[in-house]
């Protein structure tokens, strides 16, 4: 009995070996009969595979989107903080770039102008609406004195009317108490620039024969000792000319926007500048030695 069983097993093994050799040697067998035989198995296996993949995907989705969010939330907070910090940095850089541009223009004027000057920052404005003045952060300790002229690269600002050790007050050209000797660039007619009640300015005492045109540039005439000749004050507006008057006058639009002034130059001397301007001038804001 055992012997018969062993013989039967050998035949089966032999048959399988022959079948395997036949499959290897005759590929046609793979294409047809085996193909049909393996189809149900493949379908079953792939179906199970798909199901398991779906389950795994669902589990991953639930895990990543609903369970494992602790780190994501923390990461989101960190990223938000980072975005806020970067936005702040960006604003500061933009502000620094603008300040650099303004100071560069001021430095250019300081170096190329024919006068000696001290740079100052605007720290305040007049508390009342009756006067148009600015407070600057340079005073008698820095060589600033009453009646000194104050300018920017754009044009004339005004003149110093009060000083203390560390600060000075500047009367703007738009104040009604201000008077600056001016000259129309095109015609060379001279007049007096003074402020008006509405915060603008006008040029008075112009000759009746003067040919005035809107848009003409008005410059300092240099007749008074406060400003050198040729600094821009503003542009001419509408002129009023009546036959009964001895002079004519015209509205003047100042070149400087006084509401946005941040840095100015105080003219400390009209008698020329040093041949080799010192860039490390400690009186200039933002330069080495300024202490800022």
């Amino acid at each position: 009995m055992l012997r018969q069983k062993a013989i039967h097993r050998r035949f089966i093994i032999l048959f399988l070996i022959i079948l395997l050799i036949g499959v290897i040697l005759f590929p046609e067998i793979q294409k047809r009969p085996l193909h049909y035989l393996s189809q149900p198995i493949v379908v079953a296996v792939t179906g199970i595979q798909a199901g398991m993949t779906w389950i795994a995907g669902g589990f991953t989705h639930v895990w990543e989107n609903y369970i494992a969010l602790v780190t994501v939330r923390r990461e989101n907070e960190l990223l938000k903080q980072e975005v806020a910090r970067l936005q702040n940095d960006k604003t500061q850089l933009q502000e620094a770039a603008l300040a650099n541009l303004r100071l560069q223009r001021l430095l250019d004027l300081k170096e190329t102008a024919s006068f000696r000057s001290v740079a100052a920052a605007v720290i305040g404005r007049d508390p009342s609406n009756w006067y148009r003045t600015l407070m600057i952060n340079k005073g008698s300790r820095d060589g600033v004195e009453v009646e000194m002229g104050v300018v920017t690269p754009v044009g004339v600002v005004g003149r110093v009317i009060k000083t203390s050790a560390t600060a000075s007050q500047v009367l703007l050209v738009t104040d009604r108490n201000s008077a600056v000797a001016g000259m129309i660039q095109r015609t060379r007619d001279e007049g007096l620039v003074e402020g008006t009640e509405n915060g603008m300015a006008r040029i008075k005492y112009l000759s009746l024969l003067a040919d005035l045109q809107e848009g003409d540039l008005v410059l300092t005439s240099g007749l008074t000792g406060t400003f050198p000749k040729g600094l821009q004050i503003g542009t001419l507006g509408r002129a009023t000319k009546r036959e009964s008057d001895l002079f004519q006058q015209a509205a003047l639009v100042p070149s400087v926007d006084f509401s946005k002034l941040e840095e100015v130059l105080v003219i400390t001397s009209l008698n020329g500048r040093p041949e080799h301007p010192d860039r490390s001038d400690p009186t200039f804001p933002g330069t080495k030695g300024d202490g800022k």
Binding site: P127, S128, R132, E197, N198
Partner: protein, 173 residues
């Protein structure tokens, strides 16, 4: 009597008016916080408080203003006195009444300052000054006064010092 608070406000109010408040200016006019403070000090604290607040803050203004020393001391002290006198007629007030009184005081303050200027600088055109300085400032003060009343005085429930005591010479701020 909280005089220390008055001193602290006096030290802060004028710098605020010369720096931050200029950003809130319309054309060239900004509200006069000093006048508003003097009004409230006088109205709620009495004439003496108004005069002291007006003189102290007026001096602070004169020190940093382009005008002569004494102009704001005088005008603001007068406004403090007038506020105190106005306060005698009302036990309490409303935002509308406050705005009306601030408008009145601002115009009177403008006329006082104009008169002073006319005295030292002849030939200032009143119509121009009224149009470009006095009226815009008065209107701006009126709106700001209403806001200050609504946001500070009402919320802090500031009462008249003499409403519950016999003395009306000290500010209760």
């Amino acid at each position: 009597m909280n005089w220390w608070l008055l001193v602290i406000i006096a030290l802060l109010l004028v710098p605020i008016q010369t720096t931050w408040l200029t950003a809130a200016g319309m054309h060239t006019v900004h509200p006069d916080l000093v006048l508003l403070f003097v009004y409230f000090a006088g109205f709620y604290g009495g004439e003496w408080a108004g005069i002291v607040a007006g003189s102290a803050l007026g001096l602070m203004m004169d020190l940093v203003s382009g005008g002569p020393i004494g102009l704001n001391i005088g005008s603001k002290a007068i406004m403090g006195l007038l506020s105190g006198l106005l306060g005698r007629f009302f036990l309490d007030t409303t935002a509308t009444l406050t705005m009306g009184m601030v408008l009145l005081l601002s115009i009177v303050d403008g006329i006082v300052v104009f008169t002073f200027h006319q005295w030292i600088l002849n030939g200032i055109p009143f119509v121009e000054v009224f149009r470009w300085t006095v009226l815009p400032e008065a209107l701006y003060n009126t709106v700001t006064g209403g806001l200050v009343f609504w946001m500070i005085v009402r919320r802090l429930d500031i009462k008249k010092s003499w409403a519950d005591s016999s003395s009306y010479s000290s500010p209760v701020i």
